[in-house]
Amino acid sequence: MQHHFSIDRRGLLIASFGALGSLALSRAARAQGAEAPPAHPHRDPGLNLVLVQLSGGNDGLSMVVPWADDAYNKARTSTRIGAGEVLKLDDYRGLHPELKGLRSAWDAGALAIVEGCSYPKPNRSHFQSYEIWHTASMRGRDAGDGWIGRLCAETWPTGAVPELVVHVGANAPYSLHSTRHPAVILQNPNAYKWISDEAPDRSLYRDSGGKERPADSDALRRLRGILDDATASSLRVRKAVLEHSTKAGYAEDDFSQSLRVAGALLGKRTGTRVVSVELGGFDTHTNQRTAHDARMRILDAGLKALRQDLAESGADKHTVVLVFSEFGRRVQENGSRGTDHGVAAPMLVLGAPVSGGLHGKHPSLTQLSDGDLAMTTDFRSVYAALAEGCFGASGSRVLGAQYPQLGLLKA
């Protein structure tokens, strides 16, 4: 019961700050551990994390293009992005021509490109590879919770609002899977509610959860916990989104609309620290160029709007965006103007707290491993940098191993 009381009290706190017209809660008040000190005292830098998953295996070579590499120009014909159209970053690499917003972030020193990311013994199955990315473990789901789930368990052993971690979209990635802090998942914020005109019905509904009640089965206990989280967060989430106003021009597509919710939750300081969104359509086995161009356009438009939105609310100073995919694609095209599943690809890390520029090492296009770009950076070094830099958590405790330091975030 104490758990519920603290959530309610927190809700009241937020509501009363809102009523006072205060634009921002102090960082200390936002830190979720404030009510119940964590078992392992740590300094929480208080940064938020936005996870952007590009599903299907994004062709890294078409996002960060090695335009000056002969091997690239030889291997790629229908998907080649030539020197004339690429947004040059230096005399070797450039961004996809649609990534104009990311280009200006690069110019502002707010975009880090981590090159050659993958993991040892790469798996080319979408599903197995995603399990590895989501759990940061070669064992996938057998390892237990997702890496964000473990991060939260480490950082907030007790007492956090249910909307601490939010996925906006239909299916949450396994990274958010958590026995202790299951994520709030919603698609359309207006529809994030249970409807009844009758007070006794609403009250009975709210009382139908109760994870502490004895339940006949694990499944029921879990569902009752979800009902608790839903009824506790429904009003706060909708209110934040409704009250949030921004001049950022979010497009109408589902991806941009999901980032709009992210912008509202972070801008309104709801206690949300991790927001996850997804952009699909990257499994480009045939006629890749047109399809991938369109994906890049949608990605850039969404991220550009989010950046502006966060800048308006001031949350930009405390927010880091991570863009990743389950694998890159093969260097050689497959003959149907597309590419098959590959291995290493760049990750993008975006935001004011980021130490912009190149990180890691570009994989060789001539010394391939089984036709694929070989890993030069274990993606878990990026996770470690974010766990520590954003949340003050121990990377090795969250990930179960020590990974090389990358210096991704500003000190």
């Binding site: 798996n123 599903f127 998942i185 003959g335």
Partner: protein, 531 residues
Amino acid sequence: MILTILLTCLPAGDGPLDKSFQAREAEHLWNRAGFGALPEQIEASVTVGREETVRRLLSIPADEQPFFVERFLDVPREQYKERSEAERNRMNNAARERERKQLQDYTGWWVERMQTADSPLRERMVLFWHGYFTSSVEEVRRANMLIRQNQFFRENALGNFRTILKGMLRDPALLTYLDNDANRKGRPNENLARELMELFTLGLGNYTEKDVKEVARALTGRTVDGQGDYAFDKGAHDDGAKEILGQKGKFNGDDVARILLEQPACSRHVARRLLRWFESVEPAEARVEAYAQVLRDGDWELQPFLARLLNDPAFYSEDVVGARVLSPIEYMVGISRRTGQRVPSPLVASASSMLGMRLFSPPNVKGWEEGTAWITTSTLMQRGNIAGMLLGAVRVDDVFVTSDADMQEMSEGGAAMAPAKKDPPKGAAGAAFTAMKRVVDAGWSPTLNFSARMTRQGSKTDAQIVDAMLSDLLACEAPQDTRERMLSYLAGERVMLGLRDGEFLKGGAPAERVLRRMAHLILSLPEAQLG
């Protein structure tokens, strides 16, 4: 001799006197081999016994007329070439619109089958194969291919896995979805080869990257012609020597099917997928192997597998009953099957899309993720809202837009808020909203009469009414604490109406309204998502 015949006729422990097959077990069978059933169907099954019920479920012939499929893109190429670009665009757009409409009609027809067909097991297996050999309209685009694929599943739903696998390796929708139409000699496309082994036959760890490449070569040339039919392009087929899973030869697609079906991993993979689908708990390895053996012994026939499974005591164990998190389709079709109220199929289909399951549009080649993934903070509340809509307790507009009541709730304890803009929802939710609104605007309204139902069943007291409502609406038994909360809710509402315990059904329309609200609450419960 006579004794043997007698024993065969009256197997011990089965038949009408079978204590191990009561209402709980019969309802479980109808939940898993169908989409739930009316109380009277469950009673009838208990009377005839488990084996007979299973026999009937397996042998009910398909009772429907086949859906007529048109091919709208069949504009003769010569004729098409002569037209101006504007005219061609117009023709293409018109064809696309007809295709979209045809798929929508077919989806409605299919959902109708799920709600009313005499052969629910067949409908359930069609749904299984739809999520197994996935193909999405997003990539395939042509409705007639997807409909013909579904009709193939319908014919073979309870047939033979070898036939299904071979059919799928010639299926225009699947070949398009997994890019095999672009898999050509010297320019292999590995998409189908990889998913064929990972998801359709062997499972990860039972093949190598080299096998993926070789199988891709063997599958070259299997393509789709301009009419949307299967075609073998001899010139595109790589007829060179290959080595697949240790076998060497100039293999083609049929050889691939043969080699894959020979692998013990294949029967285990299929058995595991079927066990998961029907039991919803991870099967033990020994059990997977036992059922894989049933598939092998039966030469891939599915009937013996299903007959054994549905008669297996383990299928009725504590761990299995009530452990399934209902998919959106199961949840909604279940409401219809358990109450006997048919819901307009477009409403079921669009609501299912909103809850994460758009038929003909699985999220990826692995199909929908079953189990707890269906229920999120958002879909749990939405399921309740949709149930409320089906019961007339929730207005369709309120589901998607911020209502005045919402505004008031949000303003409580704080400054008054500016009135909300009543924007219709965008994206996927917008499409579902439009479809649902169309059904409701066309004059559909719920016809359920709970008071009549309770009267018929002889339920009078609060306790009798609560028990009957919970038992009729839920797929499995409600926990005691839920029953107690419902009881005090009903008592509270009864007192408000000035009625005594035992007289509630004399309350007329207001009492019926309370029962509908109660049904809305029951179907919103975590318990209602399990079956």
